[in-house]
């Protein structure tokens, strides 16, 4: 069934940083635009290091606030003493006023939408604006791009429960995460995986003695664990090298840790992941926490076998039943080393897993993922039974009276 063209708004915290979320947003916008949807990509504010993201003009990009100077988070006094804090109260009022202006701008954008339009709030901070905007006649989809566990462990959990409760749909990346949210009382929880956003022309030969790891050099990405595992492997395989791509706060410490090994190369940030992947034979994901790791998606698309810690439902979904890679219990560096070694020693196994990975990743082909989105849009806009008037008084999912009056 070919879907009728729709108006789609994708609202992110910012639309031009160099992160995975922005890559997803631009890719999604391009794909939807390609088949005729009218897409507007909205950034609440600008990113710190703007990036172009191969924009081709097929979709509009808007920014609500050139800069965001008010406090990042809303002021929530917990005690009577805090309530008396005049400075904080003033900052809170300043924030609310600025947010109202942004939301009014958003309402203007939404007002031009044709029936059947959808708003996708990609992050919980951006959702604050969407909730304050007038979304009557539209359907609001709120997304969380990380695992339930990661959200549960952070302050975002409370904000997600508050701001996403009224959304028509709350989307996470895997079925397991959606179930966890449903158990936590979010009955609008559903899932759509991220699509593969690379189309490889060349593939690695899987003969070069290189293990690659791509990610920010920070604690949650676990590169220190990879170096620990590498320490057990390196001596027995002197020809092999470990390529670590990325930058981050832990870089110095990691370089120090790797100094004695000799076979580790820190290669910094790269613009095109292809360079990194085609000259590797094994991909390593030593993360402590993940959502739906794009790097594994890419590695699989390029036909690289992956060794990963079983740290999140997203990783389990990608490497389902060990197809295209190997999962290791979180933190077990000895086993991680053993699995790396098994792949390093066996080119046939690499080829077999690599081929599996390329086949398996088709589950996340953009067409397949877009079909899931279409089904969702279709469900959200199912018609009323015959004779029923089109929702004259649809309850606007906004609870704060202040926000409602702002919208008009």
């Amino acid at each position: 069934m070919a879907a009728a063209p729709r108006d789609v708004f994708i609202v992110c915290n910012n639309a031009d940083d160099m992160g995975g979320l922005q890559r997803w947003a631009h890719h999604m916008a391009r794909r939807l635009a390609e088949r005729g949807d009218r897409v507007t990509l909205v950034g609440i504010t600008r990113g710190d290091l703007p990036h172009h993201h191969d924009r081709d003009g097929s979709y509009a990009v808007e920014v609500l606030h050139r800069v965001w100077r008010p406090p990042v988070l809303a002021w929530r006094p917990a005690t009577a003493a805090q309530r008396l804090n005049v400075a904080a109260r003033t900052r809170g009022a300043w924030r609310a006023a600025a947010q109202r202006r942004g939301a009014a701008r958003l309402s203007e954008l939404f007002a031009g939408a044709r029936p059947g339009a959808v708003v996708i709030a990609a992050q919980v901070w951006a959702m604050e604006w969407v909730r304050r905007a007038d979304t009557s006649g539209l359907r609001v989809v709120a997304m969380s791009h990380e695992s339930f566990e990661a959200t549960r462990a952070s302050s975002r959990y409370k904000r997600v429960k508050e701001h996403y409760a009224d959304a028509d749909r709350m989307l996470v990346l895997t079925a397991e995460d959606a179930d966890a949210w449903a158990r936590a009382g979010m009955t609008n929880a559903d899932y759509v995986p991220n699509p593969v956003h690379v189309t490889p022309d060349v593939h690695p030969t899987l003969d070069l003695p290189v293990v690659a790891c791509v990610g920010r050099l920070s604690y949650e990405k676990g590169v220190d664990l990879l170096l620990e595992a590498w320490e057990r492997v390196a001596a027995r395989h002197p020809g092999w090298r470990l390529h670590v791509y990325g930058a981050g706060p832990d870089e110095e410490r990691l370089r120090e840790q790797a100094a004695s090994l000799g076979s580790v190369e820190f290669r910094g940030v790269i613009a095109d992941v292809e360079e990194a992947l085609v000259e590797a034979s094994v991909f390593a994901l030593p993360s402590r926490a993940e959502g739906f790791p794009m790097s594994v998606l890419e590695a699989m698309a390029y036909g690289l076998p992956t060794v990963a810690f079983d740290c999140a439902p997203g990783v389990r979904t990608l490497i389902e039943d060990g197809r295209g890679g190997v999962l290791v219990p979180p933190g077990d560096t000895a086993l991680f080393a053993k699995e790396l070694e098994r792949l390093m020693e066996d080119p046939e196994l690499r080829r077999a897993l690599g081929a599996e990975a390329r086949a398996s990743v088709l589950r996340f082909h953009p067409d397949a993922v877009l079909a899931r989105w279409d089904r969702l849009f279709d469900l959200l806009h199912r018609d009323r039974p015959s004779g029923a008037p089109e929702r004259a008084a649809r309850s606007v999912p906004v609870t704060e009276p202040a926000a409602r009056s702002d919208s008009f």
Partner: protein, 968 residues
């Protein structure tokens, strides 16, 4: 256009709530929803409401009226199915609510999976419980709905039969038509039969974890009348009839296994539901009910009793056998909950059985066997034996009370030292406010108590603010305390309102003048403060009116509640560990150090044992002047009399630590405490490592950085760390990140293992006494079984450790030559059946393991570090590593380096134990290599070496504050 989902709302005389239910169907986030209201010939205007709703929402709501009342839910629902057109059908009762996304979620799952039935979670909302209070929302069989699932047939998951609600599901219309599925119309519990038929017919059933249905429950507040009770009996008969029909249905399909699964569910769920309410019913009702139940249970496959939950099975079995008291007691007893043990237990053939009469027949033996619950080994207070009041009367202003507590399995012996106190307490207060000594007497299978007192002097309520008073009996048995709550029971006089205790409230007798007895919902005796004289009644009314007035409410809200919360908050804040840690670091650590004080702690204060004990003994032996302070966790029993004892976590404990010159410990003093530089921390540790330690554990590697930092802070405090071998340095010290001085002396606790008992008469006496206490002087070999703890399904330690060999087998095969000493990990308790006393002993209570090692002739363990110590004795070791118990990765290949034979099964273990002597020469070399490798530094002089290294011999060196840090 055809709607996607039809919601059939059935209503009978519910005009008030119908609009709310229909509103929840109208508010669905799914567009294509049609609502059909079926009015079951109501007489209260429900019909008009339904028509009005339909008129207001043409095309979305339709109203259907039955010509005459059907008396059930079956016909209205069937009518609704016929009258609706949606591709999927759902049912909603007029007093319940759909979740906003229910239709969308169910439809999406149905279309994704192609299922005939999609089912979502149902929440029961108890309206009597205030919003925000725990227990208001309780999910219905949440374990079925943890994750989304698709089942091709009922056989894939017979547990579906637990969820017999018809309402939290969407049914494909075509499916209902093809199988001609309709509700039965003459009987109650039509849901049960309908869902059973539907599950059985369904080609595919999908489950989603999303809540779809809110079942609003209003607990009955008034006692139903007699006629209602008779109606309930008829209901139960209906329920049994439905079950018989389901049985026939399964039988007709040849689904024997499903029938059995359904019967197990009947025993676990349906029967328990009724039994738990039965105690409040009068005798005739109870008898009739149990008759009905027995009739149905008689037809069940005996296999069902073995499949059902143990206590439910016992209840069902005893109903069948006619032991009603035992059955009710089983239905009410919940080992994990708060319920009490009301049943008699008997010991037969070395096993423990439920019920007064003991088992008969092989099925009875299997079902009634409760040895696994550990009633014979668990502390009495954990069992919560029932306490029955047999006398409650007031005469001449004096109260006479008496009663008896169950003495399960005669656990309390005739010569036990008994004393008791009756405690009266204001339900809202924390501490008892009236205490009365009670005379306690041993009476065989129960413990009798009685008390006589003047309530006016013993109980002083305030008046108005403390309207409810509870009673407890605190019983002391040989130092152990058991607190029970007396209540009604067989042989009890009527307690409800029977007695009025005269009292003098502190707010004078205008507040109230007596305490009237009543029985709480939990089945315990309590008293309500009431006013007898007209003056007091008037005062009470005035007081209540004042409180309820606007001003009173305001005052209560603004001062009372806040004051109480503040008081509670202040108390919690002042005694919290956080406060104590902060005060320790900022204040206490600035007080001068007392140069002779040494704080000792073993296993977080659990025992007087291990390395700290042997260092302490050496200090005493050598006559050094040391003010020893021992920390204890809960009981002072077993700790030395010549040391000062402080309870772990108290202010005294923190003060002692702050001013101590030495810390001696084998595990860890509270984290967060900054050790001052003047204090020397001797960390002895408690065993060599096989399992990964500290930062070597995957859990820590994977976990947040804060956990590593915490470990680092704790380990950085060590000034000295005892090691037994190079293995310790490579594993323990590396894993924990120890950077202090490593003292290669071996373990003080192992000195006696190396030296023997000859030079240590004190310890020799201790071992001899232990040997006598355990009755080990009959020449049989003592085999010590000491495994580490096993983790249960939820990752928690298993609480009861069973012997590795069935006691009967052990007695038959090894009984002549060996006695098994079962030593559980300190987190568990040994469950040695009573019949095994001839061949097994529970040595879990022995605080220090060293004497046990000394008297053991052989050791059976798994991967416990005890093997590293026992190897020093050069006596046989068997490693029993049953299959299925997953071995966490260790530092070396245990099987390859094992100090003795490795066994996997019970038979292998028995064979290995029987052949210890024959196999000895073969294993001796391995054992010695093992001891040499892991006990490299154990030379029998560890305690002396530690003491000489850190504790000065005379007072002359006391001035040197940093003695412990200098290298020798």
């Amino acid at each position: 256009m055809r709607p996607d989902v039809s919601v059939v709302v059935i209503a009978y005389n519910d005009a008030r709530r119908l609009p709310r239910a229909v509103g929840s169907a109208l508010a669905q986030s799914l567009g294509g929803v049609e609502t059909v209201v079926v009015d079951d010939a109501s007489t209260d205007g429900t019909a008009e409401i339904a028509d009005r709703l339909a008129a207001a929402h043409p095309g979305r709501i339709r109203a259907v009226h039955l010509p005459e009342n059907s008396g059930g839910c079956g016909r209205p629902r069937n009518t609704g199915i016929e009258a609706s057109t949606g591709r999927y059908v759902m049912f909603l009762d007029s007093d319940d609510l759909l979740d906003r996304h229910a239709c969308l979620n169910l439809l999406a799952a149905a279309e994704d999976t192609g299922a005939d039935i999609v089912s979502g979670l149902c929440d029961r909302i108890f309206l009597d419980v205030p919003v925000g209070v725990k227990g208001r929302v309780r999910a219905w069989y949440p374990w079925l709905y943890r994750n989304r699932a698709v089942y091709e047939a009922l056989d894939d998951n017979p547990d579906l039969l637990y969820d017999t609600l018809s309402t939290n599901k969407a049914y494909r219309r075509g499916f209902l038509e093809e199988h001609d599925l309709r509700f039965v119309e003459q009987l109650h519990y039509e849901d049960l039969l309908f869902t059973a038929e539907a599950y059985l017919a369904s080609g595919r059933t999908a489950l989603i974890p999303h809540r779809v249905y809110n079942w609003l429950v209003r607990e009955r507040t008034l006692d139903p009348s007699i006629s209602n009770r008779r109606a309930e009996l008829a209901n139960f008969a209906d329920r049994l009839e439905i079950h018989r029909r389901i049985d026939r249905l399964f039988e007709a399909r040849g689904a024997h296994a499903l029938g059995q699964a359904k019967d197990v569910k009947f025993v676990n769920h349906d029967l328990m539901l009724y039994l738990r309410e039965l105690r409040d019913r009068e005798e005739s009702y109870r008898a009739r009910f149990l008759d009905l139940a027995a009739g149905y249970l008689a037809g069940l496959d005996p296999h069902v009793f073995e499949e059902a939950n143990p206590l439910s099975a016992i209840a069902a079995y005893l109903i069948r056998e006619g032991d009603h008291a035992g059955a009710l007691a089983a239905a009410e007893y919940d080992p994990a909950g708060r319920a009490e043990l009301r049943a008699r237990l008997v010991e037969r053939d070395g096993r423990v059985f439920w019920g007064a009469s003991g088992p008969s027949g092989s099925l009875g033996h299997r079902v009634l066997d409760v040895t696994g619950f550990g009633f014979h080994v668990r502390p009495l207070k954990e069992l919560r034996p029932a306490n029955t009041v047999t006398r409650l009367e007031v005469r001449d202003g004096r109260v006479r009370m008496a009663g008896h507590m169950l003495n399960p399995l005669n656990r309390i012996g005739p010569d036990a030292a008994l004393s008791g106190t009756l405690e009266f307490r204001d339900r809202r207060g924390r501490a008892p406010r009236g205490r009365v000594p009670a005379a306690v007497r041993y009476e065989g299978d129960r413990i009798g108590w009685r008390a006589e007192f003047d309530p006016r002097r013993r109980i002083r309520p305030v008046g108005f603010v403390d309207p409810v008073w509870d009673v407890r009996l605190r019983l002391r048995v040989d130092g152990e305390e058991i607190v029970t709550r007396p209540g009604p029971g067989p042989g009890a006089p009527p307690l409800d309102g029977a007695a009025a205790l005269p009292v003098r409230p502190r707010l004078t007798r205008f507040a109230a003048d007596r305490l009237r007895s009543y029985v709480t919902e939990g089945g315990h005796l309590a008293f309500a403060l009431e006013a007898g004289s007209p003056w007091a009644r008037r005062a009470g009314t005035a007081a209540r009116r004042a409180v309820r007035s606007r001003a009173g409410r305001l005052a209560w809200r603004h001062t009372g509640r806040r004051a109480r919360r503040a008081k509670k908050g202040v108390r919690a804040a002042l005694t919290s560990k956080k406060t104590k840690t902060a005060v320790f670091n900022r204040v206490l650590s600035r007080l001068p150090v007392k140069p002779a004080v040494a704080v000792f702690e073993s296993h977080m204060g659990r025992q007087f044992s291990d390395n700290p004990k042997y260092i302490y003994r050496e200090l005493r032996r050598s006559g050094r002047h040391v003010d020893a302070v021992w920390s204890y966790a809960s009981s002072r029993e077993g700790f030395p009399g010549d040391a000062r004892l402080v309870r772990r976590g108290t202010w005294a404990y923190y003060l002692a630590l702050a001013r101590a010159r030495y810390w001696v410990d084998n595990q860890g003093f509270p984290d967060g405490l900054r050790k001052r530089p003047e204090t020397t921390y001797i960390q002895t540790w408690h065993g060599s490592a096989f399992k990964l330690m500290g930062l070597d554990q995957p859990r820590l590697k994977h976990g947040p950085a804060a956990d590593r930092a915490k470990l680092r802070r704790m380990v950085e405090r060590f000034d000295c760390f005892l090691v037994r071998s190079g293995h310790d340095v490579e594993t323990l010290c590396a894993g924990l990140g120890v950077r202090s001085e490593l003292l290669a002396t071996g373990y003080p606790r192992n000195d006696p293992l190396v030296n023997g008992l000859d030079g240590d008469p004190e310890l020799a006496a201790e071992v001899a006494a232990l040997r006598r206490a355990l009755g080990l002087d009959d020449g049989r070999r003592a085999v010590l079984y000491a495994p580490t703890f096993a983790t249960g399904p939820r990752g928690r330690p298993v609480r009861l450790l069973d012997p590795p060999v069935d006691p009967d087998v052990f007695a038959r095969e090894l009984g002549e030559e060996a006695v098994l000493l079962v030593r559980p990990h300190y987190l568990c308790r040994a469950n040695v059946p009573p019949g095994a006393r001839a061949v097994m002993r529970d040595v879990g209570r022995v605080p220090d393991v060293t004497p046990l090692l000394l008297l053991a002739d052989a050791l059976v363990t798994d991967h416990s570090s005890i093997m590293f110590d026992f190897a020093l004795l050069d006596r046989p070791i068997v490693l029993h590593l049953p299959d299925g118990r997953d071995l966490a990765p260790g530092y070396f290949d245990l099987e390859r380096h094992a100090p003795g034979p490795v066994t996997r099964t019970e038979d292998e273990l028995v064979a290995a134990l029987a052949a210890l002597d024959d196999a000895a020469p073969g294993h001796a070399a391995r054992r010695r290599a093992f001891a040499a490798r892991f006990g490299e530094h154990d030379r029998g002089s560890a305690a002396r070496a530690v003491v000489e290294r850190y504790f000065p011999t005379s007072r002359t060196v006391r001035g040197r504050e940093h003695h412990g840090r200098r290298t020798a």
